[in-house]
């Protein structure tokens, strides 16, 4: 955003829940590159794309063949494709604009995290991290897979692991391995179960560097910041560590292979360690030494200034925010249910978290109006300024007024056409057109409400317990769709089409009570809020009354501002 008057201090961190989005049970989320669209994978195998500006649903990607819950969602760099992995071991590549499936591959195991190669506009290669084995590179077009090496030690690659790497609940260890692409995609960073980061050249799948993480605990997540300069690892020893990336961003692989070839005097593991120490240098670590919680879904803020991690403890929805120097700046406390996924908006200080019940919470700054915005010559002062008046300040001297007018140089050329480049997206490839938003096609108003009740209610009563017709009805307007809902609720769904405003609430400063109420709403069957508003509309006879409903409920919301 290059609008100069928007407060630069907005590069801050979020504080309160601003809004929540509901549509089915969402499991995982991903922002597109500019943060204008939010893709959410659901438990019924569909992927919903939210327009983040209007907080409404822009598109739904649904395939009747795949109904298994989605485990991860990933955008292509320019937003034309989405890669989705599901628990039925499949990976599906979707075309966003026309909403069609491009290709689908089935692997040996369910993928936990799938990432598209970051640097191509029409990606066909992705990195998949399965549940319990080494990460693989999958070519989505041909279906070929390449397994990545996860260990560099000669003795016992991936066999018996020392006991301290067992999970805390005593279950037998498997070898989860985390992996991610470098910013350019020419290198892959793998975090293995021995607590080592392996730097692998993507072209020849060779380990060129290795960085041992102190503590040698299983690495659960490994993530780069958006600018590619910082890397964080989340380990089983309840610590998040941040490393600084020393390799150049553009030609990292070449620099790495040069480093590798110059270290002739060392061999084997020592050589890899030496190369690795030139690629990544330890920066900071974050942990909560008091409560010693495990972390989940850690990531950087859009500008890399903040690190955010969620508590992996069940039953609490806590998000910790640290600044890069290591100070804990904020703990966001959400409704009392576990958190399944977390994402920081690429540009704004907004965090989006997914709770266990499938609701997406949007955390944002607590906006207070800047009082100096209300008068043109007001300026906000940080602290009291000593003002020394001029000798003639209070004299009646009308000439001083005229002096001000001539300050303006009216002959200067004014340029109304050139647009400045947005610095935060400096690596945009101008030749590829980025998909920033999906065209918003207005949903036609329902002409006659009466007939629709009768017609649709019988249809819905028949297909009471099947998911699809209900979710199609609701999907249009981002309604809550609860497959096990009663017929009464189903009818309310169609009536409340216009009063969909009731569902997507906008709250500015929710108190603790407000958050509790929200959490309650998440648990109980939805009808409470909806029946109230649709009760009004069921009495209305014609379209204009329903419309007024919209107006009334909306202005009530507005008044609470």
């Amino acid at each position: 955003m290059n609008v100069p008057i928007i407060d630069p201090l907005q590069g801050d961190f979020p504080e309160v829940i601003e809004e929540y989005l509901e549509h089915g049970i969402m499991k995982c989320i991903a922002f597109n590159r500019r943060g204008t669209l939010l893709a959410a994978g659901c438990s019924d195998g569909s992927c919903v794309i939210w327009d983040f500006e209007t907080r409404g649903i822009a598109k739904e990607l649904r395939d009747n063949d795949c109904v298994a819950p989605i485990t991860s969602v990933c955008w292509s760099k320019y937003g034309h494709h989405i890669l989705v992995s599901a628990t039925d071991k499949s990976l599906t590549l979707w075309d966003v604009v026309n909403g069609e499936k491009i290709t689908r591959t089935t692997l040996q195991q369910t993928t936990l995290h799938a990432r598209l190669h970051p640097n191509s506009s029409t990606p066909s290669v992705c990195l998949a991290c399965p549940l319990s084995s080494a990460p693989i590179i999958v070519n989505l077009n041909t279906g070929s897979t390449t397994v990545l090496p996860v260990s560099v030690s000669e003795a016992g690659a991936g066999t018996v692991l020392p006991s301290r790497n067992k999970f805390s609940d005593g279950s037998p260890p498997f070898t989860p391995t985390a992996a991610c692409f470098s910013k350019n995609g020419d290198l892959i960073y793998v975090g293995n179960s021995k607590g080592e980061i392996l730097i692998i050249d993507y072209k020849n799948i060779q380990v060129h560097g290795m960085v041992p993480v102190s503590g040698a605990a299983v690495i659960k997540n490994i993530v780069f910041s958006r600018n590619g300069r910082y890397l964080l690892t989340n380990s089983n020893d309840r610590t998040i560590r941040v490393y600084e990336n020393l390799l150049p961003l553009k030609d990292g692989a070449r620099a790495l292979s040069e480093l590798y070839s110059t270290m002739d005097e060392l061999q084997g593991v020592d050589k890899l360690k030496a190369v690795g120490s030139k690629c990544l240098v330890f920066f900071r670590e974050f942990q909560d030494s008091v409560t010693r919680i495990h972390w989940k879904a850690p990531c950087f803020s859009g500008d890399g200034e903040w690190v955010v991690g969620a508590s992996a403890s069940k039953g609490e929805h806590k998000i910790y925010i640290w600044d890069r120097a290591g100070h804990l700046v904020k703990i966001l406390d959400g409704p009392k249910e576990a958190l399944t996924d977390l994402a920081w908006h690429p540009v704004h200080p907004i965090v989006v978290s997914v709770s266990f019940s499938g609701v997406v919470y949007i955390w944002a700054k607590d906006y207070t109006e800047n009082w100096s915005a209300f008068a043109p010559d007001f300026k906000e002062l940080e602290e009291n300024e000593e003002y020394v008046e001029r000798e003639d300040e209070f004299d009646l001297m009308p000439e001083t007024e005229k002096v001000k007018e001539s300050d303006i140089n009216e002959d200067e050329e004014v340029d109304i056409m050139t647009v400045e480049k947005d610095s935060s997206f400096s690596d945009s490839d101008i030749s590829v057109e980025e998909l920033c938003f999906l065209p918003a096609i207005p949903c036609p108003d329902v002409p006659e409400q009466q007939d629709k009740y009768i017609g649709s209610s019988s249809k819905l009563v028949d297909s009471n317990h099947s998911g699809s017709p209900l979710s199609e009805e609701g999907a249009q307007n981002g309604q809550v769709t609860n497959p096990a809902s009663s017929p009464v609720e189903a009818i309310d769904n169609s009536i409340a089409e216009d009063t969909g405003a009731a569902r997507l609430k906008r709250k500015r400063k929710p108190s603790e009570k407000g958050l509790e109420l929200q959490a309650e709403k998440g648990k109980k069957p939805k009808p409470l809020g909806k029946v109230k508003s649709s009760g009004k509309s069921s009495k209305s006879k014609n379209k204009s009354a329903v419309g007024q409903d919209n107006g009334v409920s909306v202005s009530a919301n507005g008044a609470t501002d």
Binding site: I6, A373, V414, I416, M417, P444, S544
Partner: protein, 317 residues
């Protein structure tokens, strides 16, 4: 590079005047607004006769008449893909029309007073409207839901416009204020003008979003740099004391400011030199609205009740 003398801009080609090529009479009451679509293929006009007409901008034949409002229409806006038109009416609603078929797709209700001005954001997923009920409302195009209600002014809102990336909204009002709002949160970011007099009748961003063209009811047009909070250019010579006359930038062949006027003429000023370069005469009542074609050197202007016509002016080649 030679020293010193390189400061002079190259002498601009001599100004070629616009001349009248067509007069379109199809409205039965005053025409309130004309706008070319973003792709330049269509022209839409709105009128106090409660209808809008979509014209082909090449042949200037009327293609469809959009009927549905129950009171006069004050303003209209095109979506970025030129498929949808949104109209603001005295019947307190806004309507979204499909420009190709002429059907009313959606009605946006919520304002409690005449809706006076409307605009799409560049992504065309939001609509902003200003009303006599002193509020600004931001609507979601897809669902018709009102996303923000901003208690913006203390008198009717005369003009609302999104900037080029849709992140901020400028609004002008009869209370003399011109304010800038954050489109995401609805909070006020800056007040450009807060004199009680004169009323701000029109405000619009420049194509690059850095400047705001503000018209006030004291016969003045000013080009403001809103981040610095100062105006850089003043354009005068026309008459504007009563009506909210729209003005615009003409950038297809040199940079000009074009505006209507209450003395029945269309004025063109050189953007940099601020001198009036042409006065287009022909209307028989106040010229309330002007619009420039996005690619051709064509201007359309609309006249009030005693005139009721739309005139098309083209620059000689």
């Amino acid at each position: 590079m030679a020293s010193g003398g390189g400061n002079q801009p190259p002498p601009s080609p001599p100004y070629r005047p616009y001349r009248l090529v067509r007069t379109l009479t199809a409205h039965t009451r005053a025409v309130s607004c004309v706008k070319f679509s973003n792709d330049g293929s269509l022209l839409a006009s709105s009128s106090l006769d409660k209808t809008l007409i979509v014209w082909c901008s090449q042949t200037l034949n009327p293609l469809s008449r959009l009927i549905g409002h129950s009171e006069g229409v004050s303003d209209l806006a095109w979506s970025s893909d030129s498929h949808y038109i949104c109209s603001a009416s005295d019947d307190r609603t806004l309507r979204i029309w499909d420009a190709r078929t002429g059907d009313c797709v959606k009605t946006l209700r919520g304002h409690s007073g005449f809706v006076f001005c409307v605009n799409f954001n560049p992504q065309s997923n939001l609509i902003v409207s200003g009303s006599f009920d002193e509020t600004i409302r931001v609507w979601d195009v897809k669902t018709g839901r009102c996303v923000h209600v901003i208690q913006a002014h203390s008198e009717p809102v005369t003009s609302v416009h999104f900037n080029r990336d849709g992140s901020i909204i400028v609004s002008g009002s009869h209370d003399g204020n011109c304010k800038i709002w954050d489109a995401d949160t609805g909070t006020c970011l800056k007040t450009l003008i807060d004199d009680k007099v004169p009323a701000v009748s029109f405000a619009k961003f420049s194509p690059n979003g850095k400047f705001i063209l503000v018209a006030t009811l004291d016969d003045t047009l000013k080009l403001w740099n809103y981040s610095a909070g100062r105006f850089l250019k003043i354009y005068t010579g026309h008459v504007n004391r009563v009506y909210c006359i729209t003005s615009t930038f003409s950038v297809t062949n040199g940079k000009y400011i074009v505006s209507g006027s209450e003395d029945k003429c269309v004025y063109l000023w050189d953007l940099q030199g601020k001198n009036m370069v042409q006065k287009l005469e022909g209307h028989t009542d106040t010229v309330i609205s002007v619009t420039c074609h996005p690619t051709e050197n064509k201007i359309a202007s609309a006249g009030l009740d005693k005139d009721r016509t739309i005139k098309i002016w083209v620059q000689d080649t």
